[in-house]
């Protein structure tokens, strides 16, 4: 056991010291790096003292080493607290008097435990090492340690909430290191002693600091700050590597030592390859993310830039046609109306393309909420009333007696879908109007949008929801067809686990569109977090 302890001491202290030195040399000079370096030194000294306290050859001095270990433990609390207080600033920060006072308390207790018998009165010797016999002030030990641990976690969580972006990530890393440290230390020095009644395993607890130091190194150097997979792979490789080294030292026969050595070397090679592959994958993924982001930014900006002139054309042509700028001849009216229609088509195309590209990139946000369909539809009717009235058409919602339950949907998406269908219905209807009906069927609600318009043939219905298709009747009468709109609509409805389809008794007999939506969204669909949205331009608000 003692051998194992020594191996651990050497390897882990070497790792800790090299990480500390690396940060000190490579990092920016300042309060964070220097306080981190000091923390590493204190931890290393503490580990060595802890080792000596249990080392059989040191038995005559065991009392002193135990006292020194406890003292170093308190100093370590100061070093760790100070580091957390300073992080991530590089300038020396003013430490509040309250903290200064607590440092003073810890320092005093450290001194007391080193030179008096008040904390450590005596030691008991066991096969595996030594145990402390507490003195009069020993009861202070655990509360003080607990306070320090609690304060560190509290400060980390507080800072994690306060900071943003990169600094938040840095603190997050330290927090992960601290949590892994605690998860290792608590079983070793609390749970196992509780079960076995001996402190045999507690002597390994100083080595758990390696996790904290490792993650803090990552945080300070910002190395792989965005790729936790690499780090976890690296940890796995290092831990298995360590176990293999221990295996080499602890197996008795030479042939086993050689075999283990070979396995270790092979493992190192494969471990290296594994890490490299993971790194490469992350690099590629990041590139793709960058391209995706650039693409959606491009689309957003492009569509924006496009929309301004389109608005101007639409506005001016409509005003010219209305006679705002003087009477226009009948001869002029037709070409101007054509310009207007073409522009309308362009506007619709830009909108559809924008939606489609968001869908394709998986960057459509899906935010379901319970809403009343009737309310939503009333809003849409309000919006499109002008268009219908202009053509002398009615646009109404059929009254139902029963109150329909709320449906969990993405309000904005459903609004777009219904708006699109109703808008089309108005366009393709010359006489009569558009009626919207709502009905509850079992666990679903059905929206029926029927018009008294041109109607469609079966072939037209079949191709309606495909990308780029248009009912031929529509083409003859209007420039702006269904285009991409219905395809996008179908994708939106499918997001909800619903269905959308169209029916028509034939040419000239009107058409009806149906949307079937589940009242309660399937658990699965709720959880499918459609890729995190990079909201185009939303950041500016």
């Amino acid at each position: 056991m003692s051998d194992l302890n020594l191996i651990f001491l050497i390897i882990i202290s070497l790792i800790n010291l090299s990480l500390g030195t690396f940060v000190f040399l490579a990092g920016k000079k300042g309060a964070t790096t220097s306080s981190f370096f000091k923390l590493v030194i204190v931890i290393t000294i503490w580990s060595i003292l802890n080792y000596l306290a249990d080392e059989p050859s040191q038995a005559p001095n065991a009392l002193f080493w135990n006292k020194a270990t406890i003292a170093a433990g308190f100093i370590q609390c100061i070093a760790a607290l100070y580091f957390i207080l300073v992080f991530p600033e590089e300038t020396r920060k003013k430490i509040s008097p309250l903290w200064k006072f607590s440092f003073f308390v810890y320092g005093s207790v450290a001194l007391i435990s080193l030179i008096t018998n008040l904390i450590v009165r005596d030691v008991e010797y066991f096969e595996w090492g030594t145990n402390i016999v507490g003195g009069k002030l020993y009861f202070l030990y655990f509360p003080l340690i607990l306070f320090a641990v609690g304060a560190i976690i509290f400060l980390l969580i507080k800072k994690y909430k306060e900071f943003k972006e990169e600094k938040k990530k840095q603190i997050g890393y330290i927090l992960i290191g601290a949590i892994i440290y605690l998860l290792t230390v608590i079983p070793l020095s609390v749970i196992l002693p509780g079960i076995t009644g001996s402190n045999e395993f507690a002597k390994f607890s100083p080595y758990a600091w390696v996790f904290f130091i490792f993650f803090t190194t990552l945080a300070i150097t910002r190395y792989h700050l965005f790729g936790i997979e690499v780090i976890l792979t690296e940890i796995l490789v290092v831990v298995i590597g360590l176990l293999l080294i221990i295996q080499i030292f602890t197996t008795p026969s030479l042939s086993w030592k050689v075999a283990n050595g070979v396995i270790f070397v092979l493992f190192c090679v494969f471990g290296y390859l594994l890490i490299r592959a993971t790194l490469r994958e992350i690099k590629i993924r990041r590139e793709i993310e960058k391209i995706d982001k650039a693409k959606s930014e491009f689309i957003s900006i492009a569509s924006h830039q496009l929309k301004t002139p389109l608005t101007a054309v639409k506005g001016y042509i409509s005003m010219i046609l209305e006679g705002t700028y003087g009477q226009i001849s009948e001869k002029m009216r037709k070409p101007l109306a054509n310009v207007y229609q073409s522009n309308e088509r362009l506007i619709k195309l830009v909108n559809d393309l924008l939606n489609l590209s968001k869908l394709e990139a998986g960057k459509i946000e899906f935010t379901p909420e319970p809403i009343s369909l009737k309310e939503l539809i009333s809003g849409i009717i309000e919006e499109l009333k002008i268009n219908a009235e202009k053509k002398g058409l009615y646009l109404k919602i059929a009254e139902t007696e029963k109150l329909l339950p709320e449906v969990t949907v993405d309000r904005e998406k459903l609004r777009q879908v219904i708006l699109n269908i109703v808008d089309n219905a108005i366009k393709y209807t010359q006489k009569g109007g558009v009626t919207i009906e709502l009905e509850k069927i079992n666990n679903e609600e059905k929206i029926k949008i029927s018009d008294t318009g041109e109607g469609m043939t079966k072939e037209e219905i079949d191709s309606l929801f495909q990308m780029f298709s248009r009912a031929t009747a529509g083409t003859q009468l209007h420039s702006a067809g269904a285009g991409l709109g219905l395809h996008v609509a179908k994708r939106f409805i499918e997001m909800h686990g619903g269905k959308i389809w169209a029916e028509s008794p034939g040419k000239g007999k009107g058409s009806a569109f149906f949307i079937l939506l589940p009242i309660k969204l399937e658990e699965k669909l709720l959880k499918t977090k459609i890729k995190k949205v990079i909201k185009e331009g939303a950041d500016i608000f």
């Binding site: 101007a312 506005g315 005003m319 705002t324 002008i386 904005e412």
Partner: protein, 122 residues
């Protein structure tokens, strides 16, 4: 008395166009391209309604709404958002800040816009 409209719109061409229409139908129109000036004009001129674009130089339309909400004497003036920036989060924010309507410019001709704002002027 003709009603007074404040138009906050930074695109010169669009601004001119809307001013033309609004004046034609008998409104008194004041216009600006900036949120800050918009607020000053609101205080000075006390318009009956504000037409607000969202993407503006310097402070955007949402910022304008937050300013307006803080000034108790002018906070009740109805604001109709008229923008090509269509994004659900922003829409929500705008309504939360008291906007009467959130309209997408490309969906409306100036005449349709006038019809809508008349509803809010009653």
């Amino acid at each position: 008395m003709s009603k007074k409209i404040l138009l906050i719109e930074d695109e010169k061409v669009l601004s001119e166009m809307y001013v033309d229409k609004l004046t034609e139908v008998g409104f008194k129109v004041i216009s600006t391209i900036e949120a800050k000036e918009g607020l000053e004009l609101t205080k000075k001129e006390r318009p009956d309604l504000i037409i607000l674009d969202l993407l503006l130089p310097q402070e955007n339309g949402i910022v304008f709404l937050t300013w307006l909400k803080k000034e108790s004497e002018i906070s009740s003036i109805p604001v109709v958002i008229f923008s090509n920036f269509d994004e659900p989060e922003t829409r929500k924010k705008a309504f939360k800040l008291g906007a009467k309507a959130y309209l997408i410019k490309t969906n409306y001709t100036p005449r349709e816009m006038v019809e809508i704002i008349r509803d809010y002027l009653r």
